[in-house]
């Protein structure tokens, strides 16, 4: 069974903290993605990676960075968390025709 695993289901962080969201996939996919999900806005792409050490900005990269040191792991970093980054974060990996999602991390910044 294919799997995308996000390290935390729920996180509460303070404003200004550096936050790491981890995602691991076991399908040997080259493409990995980070989205945030907000009510009424659907999923918005933050960053994606099509290979190790390769990254591309999505539609809303401001305030975020990413790291892909190994094929199976794609990390999302909030350099200095702010309250407007409170959201559901979804990681995905994909083949050319299908994406597989993790369970999501609900991040609250207080």
């Amino acid at each position: 069974d294919v799997k995308v695993t996000q390290s935390s289901r729920y996180l509460v962080k303070r404003t200004g903290e550096k936050v790491f969201l981890e995602c691991v996939q076991d399908m040997d996919h080259e493409n990995m993605f980070w989205y945030r999900q907000d009510p009424g806005l659907g999923l918005r792409l933050i960053y994606f990676s099509y290979d190790v050490k390769m990254k591309e900005k999505g539609d809303i990269p401001e305030g975020y960075s990413v790291s892909r040191e190994k094929k199976e792991r794609f990390s999302l970093i909030l350099e200095s968390a702010s309250t407007n980054q409170t959201s559901m974060y979804l990681c995905a990996s994909s083949t050319p025709t299908e994406a597989f999602f993790g369970q999501g991390t609900r991040l609250t910044v207080v």
Binding site: R9, G42, R44, E98, F101
Partner: protein, 113 residues
């Protein structure tokens, strides 16, 4: 630019009745089209996809969708709704050869017993 529109925030149907969740898209070329479902506090689960071939695509849990190129639509359908179908449904589009999948805003389906 690619875009996906789900014109209904919520769809309400009675159990046993047919359901339709609407989706229209804008993308150059021949798109890849997808439907995903999300249950509360969970990630997205794949339902079905259209890549090429027959315009009527069958997917998981009895769902199907029809690709209509002239209307640029990809509506999700099910002949007989179940209460357990109540969830948030996302339509998505991707250009062939592209990396990015664009998602609609989502439609909440509520099936009443």
């Amino acid at each position: 630019a690619q875009s996906v529109a789900q014109p209904e925030d919520q769809v309400n149907v009675a159990e046993g009745n047919p359901l339709t969740v609407k989706c229209t898209y804008s993308v150059s070329g021949n798109p890849y089209l997808f439907w995903y479902v999300q249950y509360p506090n969970r990630g997205l689960q794949f339902l079905l996809k259209y890549i090429t071939g027959d315009n009527l695509v069958k997917g998981s849990y009895g769902f199907e969708a029809e690709f209509n190129k002239s209307q640029t639509s990809f509506h999700l359908k099910k002949p007989s709704a179940l209460v357990s179908d109540s969830a948030l449904y996302f339509c998505a589009v991707r250009s062939p050869g592209g990396f990015k999948t664009i998602f609609g805003a989502g439609t909440r389906l509520f099936v009443k017993a």
